[in-house]
Symmetry: C3
Subunit: 505 residues, 3 copies
């Protein structure tokens, strides 16, 4: 046997399900002893992981005898005082409301590093963070806030499946460094967030519930309600009021199926509108160094969410449309048409106009849906990570505008000549598709305007640093080196999002 192999501390069995898959790893002499106060899920997962990474672990529990069976053999389960004495670095894995019960351990923990892994129950907007309260209780220990965003599950399966980043902050650089080293060894990536006053932000991180989706989802719901009421008024109420015709059966599917594509198309136009606004603002100001209004800034950062909401509506619209021939109402109407034709003795029923209209707008619709699917797939994080900036820009910008154009063509073909048919103006309200087409056509015209050579070249100059006030071209050599390939909208987006480091976007 080679002689430098240290004798193993504990040759354990690994526990659980009869599996022998984990043996004690010999700890390096000099590696810190890690203590864990607490015996819940997180403690157990953390103990397992520390043991697997080669650390010596001692767990402090109030009732050691009951907890021993739950921990791996390599970890020593003892009283809290004993654990606090043995350990060099201690994870405080107890509920925040019980921190005060640990006060008796103060002498044992003096001069040691305490890691606060707790989470609050609600978003903390004022008042001290839990980590700062712990620091007040233990003024002679060095408190590091961290690991609160890592779930017990992620500790178990390793960073392969769970999130890898561990946000740390502390007033003590030395304590923070030792916790960072621990992270690296466990396979996580530590992110330094600064002093302990950043703990509020770290504690709030796992409490957000899709903060960047609120505005897009609200927008979608508002548009849905608006268009549903409009269509209800137009297609169901007006025939009922004027001709006594009962079309209320249309409400679950047909009216929804006119509402969904309206919402989808307007939301899709709203994805590309802020980029155009930004470009025109820059052309107006003649410089790219002026900051955008806050609303435009917010809008630019949420374009992906707008796009995904639009895609969801588009897919649901497709499914609803495919369901239309299946319904009993469609059957009955078809039967009545046939009956009428038989009575009239008409041998061939063929309306070339109607046939071509449907063939064309269905084609355009399917192509638009296909292009939107490509955009949606490349929004997936793993796919987005494998493509570079030029490819991402090609898909989201070029193919995106193609999708918007195709969807607009689909709506125009669906409209055909109905905009000019006065019978379709119920209560003097135009058919829905007329209303829907306003915004997308504006966006497409605006984009075409940016293709005009003089406008395009001026915009390119502005992005490379030209400023109208100075009348000097290329005077500022210190511009972003990446502009050559970035889409205008994306450049100005990154300008404004710089203040959101680590914020949920």
């Amino acid at each position: 046997m080679p002689d430098e192999m240290s004798r193993p501390l504990i040759r354990g069995r690994g526990g659980g399900g009869g599996s022998r898959h984990l043996e004690a790893s010999v700890s390096e002499p000099g590696a810190p002893v890690i203590g864990i106060l607490g015996t819940g899920d997180f403690s157990r997962s953390l103990a397992r992981r520390l043991v697997a990474s080669g650390y010596q672990v001692v767990v402090g529990s109030r009732i050691p005898k009951r907890s021993v069976a739950l921990f791996p053999e390599e970890a020593e389960v003892t009283s809290q005082m004993e654990a606090a004495n043995q350990a060099d670095l201690v994870f405080v894995a107890v509920f925040p409301e019980h921190y005060s019960t640990l006060v008796e351990l103060k002498p044992a923990l003096a001069g040691k590093t305490l890691v606060d892994v707790s989470n609050g129950l609600q978003i903390n907007r004022e008042g001290p963070s839990i980590a700062e309260q712990l620091a007040d209780l233990f003024p002679e220990s060095f408190v590091v806030k961290g690991f609160n965003t890592i779930s017990a599950w992620a500790l178990q399966v390793g960073p392969r499946d769970g999130s890898r980043q561990v946000f740390l902050c502390s007033d003590s650089q030395k304590a923070k460094s030792s916790v960072m080293q621990l992270c690296h060894r466990m396979g996580f990536i530590p992110i330094d967030m600064g002093l302990l006053s950043s703990a509020v932000e770290i504690e709030n991180l796992p409490l957000y519930l899709f903060p960047s989706w609120r505005i897009p989802v609200l927008c979608t719901l508002s548009l849905f309600i608006f268009f549903y009421l409009y269509n209800f008024l137009h297609d169901v109420l007006q025939p009922f009021v004027t001709a006594g015709k009962s079309s209320f059966y249309k409400m679950p599917i047909e009216t929804v199926n006119v509402t969904l594509p309206s919402v989808a198309l307007v939301m899709l136009a709203l994805v590309y509108l802020p980029g155009l606004c930004a470009a025109f603002l820059q052309l107006w100001w003649g410089t790219k160094y002026k900051r955008f209004p806050n609303w435009l800034d917010q809008w630019l950062t949420r374009r992906k969410q707008f796009g995904l909401c639009s895609f969801l509506c588009a897919v649901l619209h497709a499914i609803y449309s495919l369901c239309l021939p299946m319904r009993k109402s469609a059957h009955y109407k078809l039967i009545d048409v046939v009956f009428k034709q038989v009575k009239d003795g008409k041998e061939v029923s063929w309306d070339d106009d109607a046939v071509w209209r449907m063939e064309l707008y269905l084609s355009a619709g399917i192509m638009a849906l296909g292009l939107l699917s490509l955009l949606a797939v490349t929004s997936l994080p793993s796919v987005a990570n494998t493509i570079n900036w030029r490819e991402f820009s090609f898909i989201q910008s070029t193919l995106g505008y193609c999708a918007l154009s195709m969807a607009t063509v689909h709506t125009l073909l669906f409209g055909w000549d109905r905009a000019f048919d006065p019978a379709r103006y119920h209560f003097y309200l135009p058919p829905t598709f007329v209303l829907v087409l306003i915004l997308p056509l504006m966006v497409l015209l605006g984009r075409l305007a940016l293709f005009v050579p003089c406008v395009a070249s001026r915009l390119r100059q502005i992005r490379r640093g030209w400023e109208k006030s100075r009348h000097i071209r290329f005077i500022l050599p210190d511009d972003d080196c990446r502009n050559g390939l970035e889409d205008v909208s994306n450049v100005v987006a990154s300008q404004q999002i710089i203040w959101k480091l680590f914020r949920r976007i």
Copy 2:
């Protein structure tokens, strides 16, 4: 030229396709020389990667002349004895059955680190691992097991696309550390698995074939066969036996289309049932510190697979349903209905009841499918990694129960009043949907029971450590800090899965 630049060892061309994209990186003086015994795919990929990471590589081959052309110029290809002499750390990239042929290299390899990268051909449940056999052959070398889960492809494209984790184990801590350092430099994440006796588990890792999917897939198949036979009996056989009506054409599509939603709904109920069982068990025991039965534990860890099987069946059901109007059988039946109506001279055929039934259950079905899609998308690993615990819980728990409710409503609306129509009881067997609704309704009622205030508050107390036996509230301060936001079912799940570190789940 700056003076500390060491003279390059070999300025090579990089080979292949005329690309000049890789030049020799100057190796640090003092960096270990890495040897590779073997000239297969893995050897070549490994040599390329080591060279690109700045190491000096020497490859040992039995027929050096033939292999030189296949390796990059920076790597030196020589005889096995020569490679063993030059190298400090040796990768043994040969078939396990040929380890005995390397015995002559024993003196040259004494005191050096050997990395065993081989895989077995089948899962090894007893007997020594390949690494342990290698260690027996070379008792004076330090054997490290590792890299067997990394494919040649992952070595090539780098950890960006392939899996990043490298599982290592060894009896020698020093050898393990040097291999870990090598991993880091190549861009991989080393995971310490302990002593060499863990090699069995590491060698088995790449041999599993979806171990966590077996039970869900078996369950799906059994349910499918059961419901298909039930529907066949009910819809095809009974009319044939009693009335001589031949409906065998229904077997490929219509019968399947009644079977798939049944399977989907029952599987979806089975996703949420274990969580309820766990909650009720905890309420019954009055404590959360008692371990669950093994079957419940296993079930809780497979909920995601149950859900994805349910989603697949639901999507197939949707596609089959959308295909129904397209079929020739549907055409012929429609034609016959019209013919009959024309003969009867009925001018308008409209059954308000049938129309509303279909409109409503189609709506409910599409909404259920949309919600299930959201659940499926957030199951993707990359999407799951970008959302935090609270968001994941919201989607999988809240939206999940909404999906289950909507699917149950869909089935109830489909049933409408048919449960009360005796003509639909063939052979005294109820229509399929009656059978299918039992389990989902139980699950939904159970979940509603957990909403009752006293029950909900008792459960919350139990999860925060209250124990009936002690009649003391909050006596145990050392509980998991994360409970405030976790869904009951997920908490108890993590309790039990702690023993499965690194096991395929």
Copy 3:
């Protein structure tokens, strides 16, 4: 307060949106001062990240006063000369065309490390790279090329969402090491690409536009055009020419709907054909050590792209097919059929043959689509990373051949007996499905041939090193250890792709 806490340099506010989420991290004494020349988006993102990782940052701008407001408080914004003097390591974040304006900083930058983060505007195939030009301008500084593939966005949100890999190359090992250390601390993974002459390749990396997709997409488009013209000739032109029947309405949807499945099936066959070619070549040569022709090599590396193009066409075909009953043309034709039948007084219209044909080929089609979806989902990078080699091989190979078989069965059932009906041979051209079936049937027969026991065992021997020329079994012990489980086609693929390290695949 613990005494080793260094006094903070700057206690800043973090800026933006009123968020207090980032405080100055105390820099370690001895950590290098990082300078950034330039004030564009990249500079700002980089400054934020360096500050958050604990470095002291000084930014050099030509107009310091204007730029101060845009940078975080912890970063010092000053003149370029001042920044060059203070910093130890300098990021040159200016446009390449302005490098010459920095010449005056040469004395200040002598002996320091310069990091060139610029990108070119087009792929550079000859001529020196931008990094080499910078090195010529500053011969006394050590130029490191890196960070050009990291977008400002990735710097902001951290490596969680953006790409993590940073490609570095430099002639100075010491400079490269310090930049690598910087990478690690910021949470990125540095990849050593060698000497500065590799800078060309690194600068070209972000300029590629889907290089591996060109051939598959071209192939898809060519097949689409070919089959569309063939179908147009067969279904639209021939009836028009011979019988004057106008079927031009078929062009948007029906003709496309016969073209898409043809393209999908041929592309799917092209996914599995190269693997068979490789296997047969190896059997012919009797060895696995001979290199494949270049075209086969290229084809083998693009199989995933071929498969995904096939999947897209298959999905579009499904959507087009589901749209068929919805169209007005379908309505009119149905109405005419009913009318005709009513006139003929035929009470029951039922063609058992036609009914069964449609039920069966629809079933087969849906099953093929389901299997293809499984293949597509496992192609997603995040899903592919969670499954091991054996599972990946099972899905892509076993299930893949099942999908190909099912799609072939679908086409055969669609054909039914139409191949034997002379009326369907327009202009002596066979119906499209006859043409389409040639390649898939060849592939399936070829694969069956490989199942023949003697052929299969010979192939297995060859893969384990047997060579016909030597007539010796297992003479070569130095083969890839992973062959036992790999599918033939995948083994030979990896053989050839070894020269493409870091190339876009």
